[in-house]
Amino acid sequence: MKAELKRLADRAAAEGLLDVAYANIDSPFGPILLASTPRGLVKLSLPNYDAEEALEQLAGQISPRVLEAPARLDDARRQLDLYFEGRLHEFDLPLDWQLSKGFRRRALRAIDRIPFGRTRSYTEIARSAGNERAVRAAGTACGANPIPIVVPCHRVLRSGGALGGYGGGLPMKQALLEMEGVLDKRE
């Protein structure tokens, strides 16, 4: 049945019927769900989230034509593997921003420009997104980031340098920043 389903996904894509392709991949932090539209990567669901629920949301928000099609996410998976090994510093993937609107999208685009191994404060992100006083909203934008890791909201910290929050849990944020050489490994 596996070959038949792969052929179906390929034919669906060729006929413009594959609106959301997804794959479940492994990471050092646990299983990650990746989803893309014909425009690009649209969703990355971290290990502590329910993948089933994420897929149901995608079906409602984008299209119910959601198919498991791992081959269509091979490139994203490869780049993530390299990133987790510390061997890739900048993702080169088309992104589909459709799940974020307005201020949140502007904030996430600002976050997308933070280089590997660097950090910004929530205030700086709020300023880049066009409203310096919207610090709390910048925090919310991070929390609602549909494509974490690739859009590196883990590089956003409190002004004093405190970690702030992370959808994937603070230990994951800590580990990513250690891997990027921003934080020293804690004793």
Partner: protein, 155 residues
């Protein structure tokens, strides 16, 4: 509009059954093509589906149409087939058992198709006859022979 589940859940839940039905209806060699056609057609219409109450019945209805298309394309004259409308809303789901369908797949083509169309797609004799391009009496005979043989295999 109802919130439709991700299409993948339909595949996960019903793909095996649809394949089994199609193997019964058109034979193992051609089932794969019909399977592709069935799910591509389903995928095409899926976002506009207004009633998600019986997705399995909906898929089997499409599979039935594709099986008929297949029989038509195989050199038989075009057949005036009534659309199986009554199937669309039916809640009576055929009993599907992998083991039985494997045996159905082993029947001679006519018997196999008759059994599949009757019990998987829930078609009346007249439509089975139309699909197989034979008289209703011949369809009934094929069905009867098929069932007799299955019964023997199962006991």
């Amino acid at each position: 509009m109802p919130t439709l589940p991700p299409f993948q859940t339909l595949l996960d839940t019903h793909a095996e059954d649809v394949m089994a039905v199609l193997r019964g209806a058109v034979g193992r060699a051609d089932a794969e093509d019909c399977f592709q056609e069935t799910f591509l057609a389903a995928l095409r219409g899926y976002p506009k589906l207004s009633d998600d109450g019986n997705l399995r019945g909906w898929l089997l209805t499409i599979a039935h149409r594709k099986a008929i298309d297949h029989h038509r394309a195989n050199g038989r004259r075009p057949l005036p087939i009534a659309e199986p409308e009554e199937l669309a809303g039916t809640s009576a789901e055929p009993e599907l058992d992998e083991g039985v369908w494997a045996l159905v797949g082993a029947l001679p083509p006519k018997q196999r198709a008759a059994v599949a169309l009757r019990y998987a797609c829930d078609l009346p004799h007249a439509e089975i006859a139309a699909a197989l391009d034979c008289s209703p009496a011949a369809a009934r005979r094929s069905l009867h022979e098929g069932i007799k043989r299955l019964r023997k295999e199962l006991t």
